[in-house]
Each structure stands twice: as C-alpha cells, then as structure tokens.
Assembly symmetry: C2
Homo-oligomer: 212 residues x 2
Amino acid sequence: MGSKYVSNSVIKRLPRYYRFLGYLKDAGMVRISSRELADRMGLSASQIRQDLNNFGGFGQQGYGYNIESLYKEIGKILGVDSGFKTILIGAGNLGHTIALQIDYQKRGFDLIGIFDKKESLSGQMINGMPIRSSRDIEDFCKDNGVKVAILCVPYEAAEELVPTLVSSGVIGFWNFSHYNIKEEYPQVAVENVHLNDSLMTLCYQVLHDTNL
Amino acid sequence: MGSKYVSNSVIKRLPRYYRFLGYLKDAGMVRISSRELADRMGLSASQIRQDLNNFGGFGQQGYGYNIESLYKEIGKILGVDSGFKTILIGAGNLGHTIALQIDYQKRGFDLIGIFDKKESLSGQMINGMPIRSSRDIEDFCKDNGVKVAILCVPYEAAEELVPTLVSSGVIGFWNFSHYNIKEEYPQVAVENVHLNDSLMTLCYQVLHDTNL
DNA sequence: TAGATTGTTAATCGATTAACAATC
DNA sequence: TAGATTGTTAATCGATTAACAATC
C-alpha cells in the first residue's frame, strides 16, 4: 500500500472527521461545506480542505462535500472494513474491559482470541470467547493469521511477548503497557494508550492553566 | 499560578520524562546527561534541554542532571502531590476499571466519590467506596470541594452533567466520552481519552504504513 | 586547567492559515 | 450567468534541531 506520505497530525484527525460525518449523516444532512464542518468541529476550513486533499478531491466547487460519500471515503482510508485478525493479551481488569467495551468490527478489527498467563482463568468466557493460556499464543497466531495484538499486560510481560508475536506475523499493536515497542521494532505499527500519562497531563493543566 | 506559557507538546512529554527518571532513580543511577537520556528515550538531547528550560535550569554544565532532583522537580511541575478532590461518574464496565486501575494518589488526585445514575448499583462497593446516586452529585461536589470529574458515561449523559459540575466548582475533566467539553467551557481543563479514535488510527497504520 | 555539558540563540523543518484562481 | 466553494499555492506560525558561548 505504498500511498504517499501523510503526516501523523492528519491521521490522528481522521477518526474525528469520521465520527462527525457519521453524526451528520444520521441526522439526515446531505451536504456540508468545509466552513460549516470547521465551525462544528472547532477547526479551520483551510485545515479541513488541506487534510482531505491528502487523499483526493472529495468535494465539489461551489457545493461542498457530500456527507454520505465523504463518510464512506474516510471509512475506506481508515480501513474500517479490514477485519484484521486480532488477539488480546492480559485478561485482568483492564483487558477484560477493553475486550468488552470496543466494537472491533466497526473499526477494522476482528477479535478472535483472548489470552492470559494465569492458568486459573483458562476457559472462563468473555463476550462468548474463552480465555486461553498464554502458552498457546504463538501457535494460535500462526494458525489464524493474527495481524494485531492488544497488550493489556505489564511492562515485563510485554517485553517478553513482543518478539514472539512479531515473529509469528503480528504487524500491529494496541499497546496499553509502558514497554516501548517501536524502539525495538520500528517496522511494526504501534498505537500506545498511556492512561497514566494522560491523567498527569490533566493534573498539570488543573494546576497551571486554570486561573483560580 | 500565572507561570509563563508552555506549549502542549512539551507538557505531553513531561509524564514520560517523569516515568523514565523514576526508572533510573530506582536503578540507583545518580546523574545523567541530556545526551544519554535522549538516547534512552528516543528523543534528541536538544529537545530535552529545551523542554526542561521551560521550567528552569535544572542541570549543571559539565555534569548533566541529578536524577533524583530532576525527578522531584518534574513531579512538582506536574503537581503529583496536589491531591485534587475527584469524583468518577459512570460505574459501568469502563468506569469500574478506571476506578480500580489508576493510582490516583501518585498522580495528583484524590478519588473520593463514585456515581452512577442506575439506582440499582447504589451502595455496591468499588475499592472500598460505595457507588452513589447521580442525583447527589451536585451536593457532594459542593460539600467536598470537588475539583475534578472523570466522565465514564455516554455523550448525552456527559452533555447533561457538565453544566452542573462546572457550576458546582469542577475545573478539570478526564473525559472518556465523545462530548466536547472545551467547546462549551473553554475555561476548564480537559483531557480526552478517545479509545476508539486511537484504535482507528492503528487500523490506518496497519493498512498503509507497514510494507507487507 | 582541560573536558564535558549545559542554557540559549539561530537555523531549519513541518504544520497551519491565508489567499485566490479554477470551476461547479 | 453569478455566487459559492473547492483545490492548491504562498505566507505564517510554531516546534524541533543545530550550534556555540558560558561555565561547572
């Protein structure tokens, strides 16, 4: 998929465009101008046009953008129908929630396995799926063509798991651990979720920004 | 706290500095140069010096930085000892996990109340705290000087809750909903966690970046 | 003192905004 | 056709990197 390079700032805005266009579509709106979308999203019209034109000319002069077709186009760009075979590792509190909470199908993934190293959890069901033993991860990935792993495990476990996963064909990670996957494996796709960092950023803001 | 303006890019790196310095401190290291820290963190030495000098000259020419004291300084900047009175709203799957998973004390917060609109949950305990009825939020905030709210509720609930919270003295939100708080209340501090957006970004990366 | 490394200024790079000709 | 709005180029702004004098 050797498309042209698109900056990270743009890519991070795509899901938000997709979400907003979904709302507008569901509200029955048919067309929108970059100006109106900008106002609704709190962006500039210029930025929206620049962003979209990274991927093609989806609008029409004098008219604006057709909401339904733009929605579909962005869906295609994001790959919402990809159905990448995905496993989740670490069925503790967080892992359990992440397994239940997310609508994987609608976001391009197909969650087909949940693993935990604790043998005592094996067989317990989450969302109709049994928790499997971590010992079986490698075989499972190879047998099922797993492309993405969700890591809901501590640093050390992540560090230990990643080499095996990569060599078993995993090319993308949704990483809730603090282990820095990109450092060791720059070729794989990684999206980090650092809840603690996010919360500390809030603390800074409350402490400094607000004019109490 | 009218300190000088520090850009968001810098602030978002602070928790990571704090974390790394914590590791180094625990490993018994005493000093580190910007160069070595940069190598370990995958940043540039220049950036680290620029970042830190937003807050003061913590280093010493010819020597580098003292790890323990830099760790403490960054902790102070982030406000890890602030203990902001905090409540969590929405004790469903996600809310429950967020209540349990995070070490609030170490990150500047003091979680003192959990609320859910479902009366049937009232009284149930999470981490030694009873789930309270959402009807009591306003009084609770005013009585206890609540400064921060964690929103683990859907869009509509957030939209409805935020005005009351703000008027009751809440000045910071850790927002897991898609409701855009900043739009309506630009004066409050908001840190959004959009798990779905993060996952879709990963999908894009797996689809495009990787050279399969 | 000589060597190392900071703090800070200047240069570069990238992202956002402004402007406008093209065109529906 | 006239008005609206895009796609795209140029200008601006901000963040990162490079360079180096200050100094421990």
